[in-house]
């Protein structure tokens, strides 16, 4: 699978140079910081755009995801021997471990990722980045750093998504007649392992970094015109998702395996 994806993109990218350039980019983002007074307002703007701007869609998705997980689990319980609280338990586990952190991040790769790539890419093609550089501004710090800092709040919206997801599961289970409220809540509280939440937030932080930097990379180093901005956004979405999925696998192996 990875090989296939790699093969598809081999024509467009030379991996090693890209990875090297990405690493250099990250280093340059932290060089020669922009004045704090200006940076502060840039960060606030990005928090508004990237974090609050995504809250609505993530809550919406989390709610229905939780509902579907609860219904699916309930429908698969056919044996009388399986405890009734499994619905709540399964909903909690899948929402906290995977759906909220990973699934939401893939959605974010589309929403936030394409916004970042197209806004930075447009600045590249209209020479606004050159204008910054000519003035002596570190354009990478100016453009990418505030996004990284803003997305440090990403775990915060993911925790909201977790609550909403479990709540969606409860609604679907109780009002769909699949479980009683008491059973569901008992399941949600069953065998709770705090490290799972730590694991989920660690993942989320890594994904946040990926969400801020991979799309920035695709925007910053693009060439061409308006058409290429569109193409860069698509490529950026694909790569951001791929990196998130691979990082998810590696982190799960490292932290839970």
């Amino acid at each position: 699978m990875l090989f296939l994806l790699g093969y598809t993109y081999f024509h467009h990218m030379n991996y090693l140079t890209s990875i090297g350039r990405y690493a250099i980019m990250i280093k340059d983002v932290f060089k020669k910081p922009t004045k704090w007074r200006i940076m502060k307002s840039l960060i606030l703007k990005e928090v508004d755009e990237l974090i609050f701007g995504s809250l609505g869609i993530l809550i919406f998705i989390a709610f229905f995801m939780g509902a579907v997980v609860a219904i699916q689990t309930a429908l698969n319980i056919t044996s009388e021997l399986i405890p009734k609280n499994l619905v709540g338990f399964a909903t909690r586990q899948s929402i906290i471990l995977e759906f909220a952190p990973t699934f939401c991040s893939i959605i974010m790769a589309g929403k936030v990722g394409s916004y970042i790539t197209s806004s930075i890419g447009t600045m590249r093609v209209t020479e606004q980045i050159d204008a910054l550089e000519v003035m002596g501004v570190n354009a990478l710090n100016y453009l990418v750093f505030p996004k990284i800092i803003a997305l440090c709040l990403y775990p915060f919206i993911i925790s909201i998504a977790m609550y909403v997801g479990i709540f969606g599961g409860w609604m679907a289970a109780v009002f769909g007649g699949f479980s009683t409220s008491a059973d569901f809540i008992e399941g949600v509280q069953l065998d709770f392992i705090p490290f799972h939440v730590t694991y989920a937030f660690l993942k989320t932080l890594v994904f946040a970094f990926v969400l801020a930097t991979v799309p920035s990379y695709h925007g910053f180093y693009m060439t061409g015109g308006a058409l290429e901005v569109g193409k860069a956004s698509t490529t950026s979405f694909v790569w951001t998702s791929v990196v998130i999925i691979v990082a998810n696998y590696i982190l799960t192996q490292l932290l839970l395996g």
Binding site: T34, M135, G136
Partner: protein, 255 residues
């Protein structure tokens, strides 16, 4: 003073600059002319360090650009004003925001000092009622003027303008030309201007560099360009019948 020594620049297999040597002196408006696609923008971007020439050197007041440390390059850049061909205004900021941006970035001025300075430069480019508009809400010519205001707001030592008066009406074009010449002389700036505007060439061309096929085809002053017998120059500069007649009359008058 900027000295350019034998610079070459290619993109892939296409050789754009094939060894250009020249110098631009202080307090003078230096013009670069040449056909569309002849490499004027590429040349200017090489001077600015946005493109790195494969060969040759560029020095600013005796210091070779490629040998400067990152710190020195940054300091140099704060002394440079640049007007891009497409204006390159920050479209997330208002006109005023664009003009104040370099001040906010690099000076310790108070809000009111910045406001005064921004008002002053915007007035100099004849823009008085667009302070709070966004670049997408103003005309191309107005964008050009904002770009010029932004380039001169820091009192640069070096000013680069890529076609500063393309897209402007003749009257505003002359205002802009005069403005550039005025501030160049007033603040002893080393100014380099790419242009297609023959009016600018005649009016403010204290030094003119004619690029053709990636090479320097001719170099001289606006007085000399009237007299030159160099055919590549006369063909290009006096390509319209009107200009041919004007030149003819000028020569006859002198004889």
């Amino acid at each position: 003073m900027i000295e350019v020594n034998d610079i070459h620049k290619s993109f892939g297999d296409t050789h754009i600059l094939k060894g250009v040597t020249t110098s631009f002196s202080k307090g003078k408006t230096n013009l670069i002319i040449g056909q569309s696609g002849s490499g004027k923008t590429v040349f200017l971007k090489c001077l600015l360090g946005l493109f790195t020439p494969e060969q040759g050197s560029i020095s600013y007041d005796g210091k070779i650009y490629s040998e400067m440390t990152d710190e020195e390059k940054r300091n140099l850049r704060q002394e440079i004003g640049m007007v891009f061909q497409g204006s390159a205004l920050f479209d997330s900021m208002t006109v005023e925001g664009n003009v104040k941006f370099p001040l906010e970035m690099f000076t310790k001025q108070s809000q009111s000092e910045m406001q005064d300075r921004a008002d002053f430069v915007l007035k100099r480019v004849n823009l008085v009622d667009a302070h709070h508009k966004y670049p997408s809400e103003i005309s191309g010519g107005m964008q050009k003027r904002v770009a010029i205001a932004r380039a001169i707001v820091m009192n640069p030592k070096y000013l680069f303008c890529d076609e500063p008066n393309s897209g402007l009406d003749p009257k505003t074009a002359i205002v802009i030309d005069n403005l550039i010449q005025e501030i160049t002389e007033e603040y002893d700036i080393t100014t380099v201007i790419n242009t297609h505007d023959m009016n600018s060439v005649m009016e403010i061309g204290k030094k003119i560099l004619f690029l053709k096929d990636g090479l320097k085809a001719w170099e001289g002053t606006n007085k000399e360009i009237f007299k030159t017998e160099n055919e590549t120059v006369t063909d290009f500069v006096y390509s319209s019948d009107l200009f041919k007649k004007v030149r003819q009359m000028y020569i006859e008058e002198r004889n």
